[in-house]
Amino acid sequence: MMLEVSQIETYYGPSQALFGVDLSVAAGELVALMGRNGMGKSTTIRSICRLTPAKRGHIVFDGQDLTGLRSFQAARSGIGLVPEGRRCFASLTVYENLVATARSGAWDYAKVVSLFPRLGERAGQMADTLSGGEQQMLAIGRALMTNPKLLILDEATEGLAPVIRQEIWSAIRRLKGEGQSLLVVDKTLSELLPLADSCVILEKGRSVWTGRPAALTNDLRDQYLGV
């Protein structure tokens, strides 16, 4: 397994947010992390990235126990994060956003621009002058430039126009086709499930169901994913 999360418990101050989450991602696999709002999806991602370290449980990535590592060390070990909310560096250009933290590997500037040609057209523009969709492309491009072994996408298509959403999904399909390991949180199940190799559902900070997308029945959807 590339990523193995076992029974993690995470707190924000005195408040416990995760009560035992298990999930695993194999190399080249796309895992969908699902659940209603506030069930712990983003906290699970923050724990994996060591932004909010888990107090109990284990996270093993690529054979390395991440316990005790700092967030930059976890990222350096090969975890790339596209956080919720299109987080780019507003007062830097598109090019600077992409190259400043780049690490050598298959993904370089030319390859990112081939995935998102708009970024190449706007290379000299400040990130805060891009549209929401372009900023999301930039956030994904920035994460890819670190050549991650595992790319985590947290609500990457949320709030985007349908046409832009399609562009992002086709990029995700291409990444999956190239064998990139992915952990994806997204509410558009009609796009996500056909791509997913396995799904994990969180409910009140616990992983309550893990299985293949085909096994996700309507009852399970109503019980854990319905509004």
Partner: protein, 326 residues
């Protein structure tokens, strides 16, 4: 040909005026004004150093006078030993050669900044401000309690230090040396901020958590910026000691740190030529309004207040508009 931005035009005019002013003063046989221009240029260079930490790195250092003073003391102590042929700590000879003095000054300040930075950069906000201030005050009181180098009375440099075969005692030539040093420090800052390191430093200022999730540790980036910033400021300090022929603990005092901050804020935080604009206004106010009243800082305060309230980006921002880093 690439069109120059409005800010580039303003910067060019500023540099041109700064270069021409001492030439005119020299032609009019007014050496005082040549020295005054040298003072502007040296203080601007010290503020360029602070601007790298404060403006580009978001590190609100309230102790940069320590590095300014260390540069000054290196020049003073080296000249003192060169003058009487004695040795520093038993075996190190003095020197009256500016390149040697500058090299030692930036190395000493760099080492001091590395030590101070390793401790202070583990904190943020008001704690960082207070720790940098505390270190500067420690160096200040150390200088006061060191009678060999004048203690509270300071140390005189009897003959201006030399640079190759140039006549450094000529005010215009000395201005040229200072002006070249200022331009070099601005060029260095520009190249640095245009590099990947500069982009990472901006990222660390904007959001260090986001930078860390890209696999880059913000701490060494900030530390490097802090050290480089101190080295530039110490170079200015060495020139300042030569300009005045004197170095005293007042160069290390917190008032001086505050003045450098005021200059950076006045000219434009994070604007490449902001410290130059700030230093021009600061020294002109100090000299001309200070000639009429002791309370010239009152007018400085009014201007600073107006700039902070109404001009986003300092004086350069007022004239050139929003910068890419605002």
């Amino acid at each position: 040909m690439r069109k120059l931005s409005r800010e580039s035009w303003i910067n060019s005019v500023l540099v041109l005026l700064l270069a021409l002013a001492p030439l005119c003063a020299s032609l009019l046989d007014e050496p005082y004004y040549v020295s005054l221009a040298s003072r502007v240029v040296i203080i601007a260079m010290a503020a360029v150093g602070l601007n790298l930490a404060l403006g580009f790195g978001g590190l609100i250092s309230f102790g940069h006078a320590a590095f300014f003073g260390l540069g000054g003391y290196v020049a003073g102590v080296a000249a003192y030993h060169a003058f009487d042929g004695s040795y520093f700590i038993g075996g190190i000879p003095g020197s009256d050669q500016m390149p040697v003095i500058w090299l030692v000054a930036v190395l000493v300040a760099g080492l001091a900044a590395a030590f101070i930075g390793v401790i202070s950069l583990r904190t943020q906000g008001v704690y960082f401000i207070m720790i940098t201030l505390a270190f500067a005050q420690m160096i200040y009181y150390f200088a006061i309690s060191f009678p060999t180098y004048g203690g509270e009375d300071g140390l005189s440099i009897y003959v201006r230090n030399s640079l190759f075969s140039l006549d450094t005692s000529d005010p215009l030539i000395f201005f040229g040396i200072c002006f070249f040093s200022l331009m070099l420090s601005i060029f260095f800052t520009r190249r640095l901020m245009g590099s990947r390191f500069g982009a990472a430093l901006t990222m660390a200022r904007l959001n260090e958590v986001r930078l860390a999730t890209s696999g880059v540790e913000p701490f060494p980036i900030r530390l490097t910026a802090f050290v480089l910033s101190a080295m530039i400021t110490s170079g200015a300090g060495a020139l300042f000691a030569d300009l005045n022929g004197f170095v005293s603990p007042s160069m290390l005092s917190w008032h001086h740190s505050g003045e450098l901050m005021v200059i950076v804020i006045l000219g434009g935080v994070g604007r490449l030529f902001g410290p130059v604009a700030g230093a021009v206004v600061f020294v002109l106010l100090e000299t001309f309004i200070g000639g009429f009243t002791q309370h010239w800082q009152f007018f400085l305060g009014l201007i600073l207040l107006s700039v902070v309230l109404f001009a986003n980006g300092g004086l350069i921002g007022l004239l050139a508009g929003r910068s890419r880093h605002d």
